[in-house]
């Protein structure tokens, strides 16, 4: 079991909510992994402290006089005094008791037949009708429940419903849903996901993925479908992909067809089919890599992208990179410090020589036209989508 997975289900583990087999896997992992063991112990320490918080905190002053006054005031209020004060045998009025109050509600005057109530109801109906009309004209996308019942706004959807602009769709641990992205595609929403519709315009189909996992299948031209996350903006370039966002805002993109671009904080990553890309809030997208990349290469990229990695990590990338990893090296060309770029350039030329017109000096000074031209030789097709103008 990977550390990432352990961190996600550690809460369920300490709460005793995991199936036995999975709990054993966690125990095994904790015995071997010091970092996760530290997390576990920190969580246990917190729960220990929480369990010792006092259950009783006396109010700073005696609240009974105020409560008593409220009870007296309500017993004499217009709601209860006239209708609910009971005439005793001796003819004197006496405040009702709780039991009597319940019984006497049935004897209350039929307020719903009064003219004032009827007029108020008509006003409410008129405004309600107008509000419903406005809702029906608000841009929205169709939602279908795939498993369990998902929540849209404050309503639970058992079969189908609508997700309006500004509304959140939430799935719990067993529910899944499908959102039809206007006329251009669909998004499957996995359990424990929170997602919001931001725009539903012809030229801007936009979701906000706060947490959880979604699979998008889009059959529209590039740059019509966007997903905002805490770490980066995912721009569809005609594709199929999975996007996952953790509670802390970090995320992972996995492209299965076409291309997806990630943008944030001045960083830009283009991920082709078969590629993955991690992202972190405050930093943006990392360097994309092939799904076949070695574990050492992935770990080295994590350090380079998010943890101040340097030459040691770069050497690992050079050692483990193959032809399929040229798009990873291509991204590194402009991301590593200028002093390290010649090494990246040299390793790239070993895997795929630059085409005519692309020079070492040009690439090292970051000439975008040369970089794009080189990218086209290994199928990244980087420049075409930037030039694409949406409808």
């Amino acid at each position: 079991m990977k550390c990432e997975r352990v961190r996600i289900i550690l809460d369920d583990f300490v709460d005793g909510l995991l199936p036995e087999a999975e709990a054993r896997e966690i125990e095994t992992h904790l015995a071997e992994c010091e970092n996760c063991r530290d997390e576990f112990q920190s969580l246990q320490a917190l729960l220990e402290k929480a369990s010792h918080l006092p259950k009783v905190i006396e109010p700073p002053r005696d609240l009974w006089p105020d409560i008593e006054a409220k009870l007296g005031a309500q017993n004499n209020s217009k709601i209860v005094s006239k209708d609910l004060l009971l005439k005793r045998g001796d003819g004197a009025s006496k405040p009702f008791t709780p039991s009597e109050a319940i019984i006497d509600k049935s004897r209350a005057k039929s307020w719903y037949t009064s003219p004032r109530f009827i007029v108020a109801s008509m006003i409410v109906l008129l405004f309600g009708g107008y509000w419903l009309y406005l809702q029906s004209t608000k841009p929205s996308w169709e939602v279908a429940s795939l498993a369990g019942s998902c929540k849209v706004g404050s309503d639970y959807i058992e079969k189908t419903g609508r997700l309006a602009v500004g509304e959140w769709l939430e799935t719990d641990e067993i529910s899944r849903a499908q959102i039809n992205v206007g006329m251009i595609g669909r998004v499957e929403v996995e359990p424990n996901t929170r997602i919001r519709l931001l725009q539903a315009r012809v030229t801007d189909h936009r979701l906000d993925l706060a947490r959880g996992k979604m699979h998008a299948t889009i059959w529209a031209p590039p740059r019509l479908f966007f997903v905002e996350t805490a770490a980066a903006l995912a721009i569809d370039l005609g594709c199929e992909y999975t996007l996952q966002v953790e509670d802390d805002g970090s995320g992972l993109l996995h492209v299965t067809a076409g291309y997806v671009a990630l943008e944030s904080h001045g960083r830009e990553s283009v991920v082709p089919a078969g590629g993955l890309c991690a992202m972190r809030p405050g930093i943006g997208p990392g360097t994309p890599y092939s799904e076949d990349a070695t574990l050492a290469l992935r770990e080295a990229l994590t350090k380079l992208d998010f943890e101040n990695g340097g030459t040691e990590e770069l050497d690992i990338v050079f050692r483990d990179s193959r032809f399929a990893d040229t798009f990873t090296l291509w991204h590194l060309l402009v991301r590593v410090e200028p002093a390290l770029r010649p090494q990246v350039y040299d390793r790239m030329t070993e895997l795929i020589p630059p085409p005519e017109g692309v020079t070492r000096d040009g690439v090292l000074r970051g000439d975008q036209k040369m970089l794009d031209k080189w990218a086209e030789t290994f199928g990244l097709g980087y420049s075409w989508w930037k030039r694409w103008l949406p409808l």
């Binding site: 809460d11 918080l53 905190i57 609240l63 008791t97 319940i102 939430e170």
Partner: protein, 181 residues
């Protein structure tokens, strides 16, 4: 939930008398449970003044609802649920637009001597809880302090179980960071 404590007059007698309109009996029930109700109102609202109002509202509502208590459950559990409904109803109505973060004066409530006593680590945790986002705070208090299950919390707060779990995860993460800082 915590069971009832032995008192000079058995609780069921007090309940029975209160159901028949005996406010003196109801006052004794208040004195018995005020600390428990106030504690959870304080933790959920993170505001001492608001906690006092919520505690009062909870007991006023309890008085009016006493007839519905049939003794099938522990009286305190019934009262506690009712208090929770008051708190969450208040949160939803947004009638009280007070800050979710306690003032310095409010925090002094946790420095007062109470039946359990508090060491500095406990006070640190109480203060960190008050700084949590509203929903995450409520779920942490209900789950990790009061011992409710996610299904119960989801029912009370009208959320999904998944939301309850993720908010608890978020609260724990924030608290661990705050306490380790």
């Amino acid at each position: 939930m915590e069971g009832e404590q032995a008192t000079a007059i058995p609780t069921f007698d007090l309940i029975s008398r209160a159901q028949n309109g005996d406010q003196a009996a109801f006052e004794q029930l208040y004195r018995k449970y005020a600390g428990r109700v106030y504690a959870v109102c304080l933790r959920l609202s993170a505001n001492a003044g608001q906690a006092e109002e919520l505690t009062q509202d909870a007991f006023v509502r309890a008085w009016h609802m006493l007839a519905t208590f049939r003794g099938e459950s522990d009286f305190f559990s019934w009262l506690y649920r009712l208090a929770m409904n008051v708190v969450f109803s208040d949160m939803r109505s947004k009638r009280r637009r007070t800050s979710r973060v306690m003032t310095t004066d409010d925090l002094s409530v946790f420095d007062q001597k109470n039946s359990s006593g508090m060491d500095s680590a406990t006070i640190d945790l109480e203060k960190a809880i008050t700084a949590l986002p509203k929903q995450a705070r409520a779920i942490f208090v209900l789950h990790d302090v009061e011992g409710y299950r996610h299904e119960e919390i989801a029912g009370m707060m009208k959320l999904s179980v998944g939301t309850s779990k993720s908010q608890l995860h978020r609260a724990r993460r924030i608290l661990r960071k705050a306490l380790e800082a």
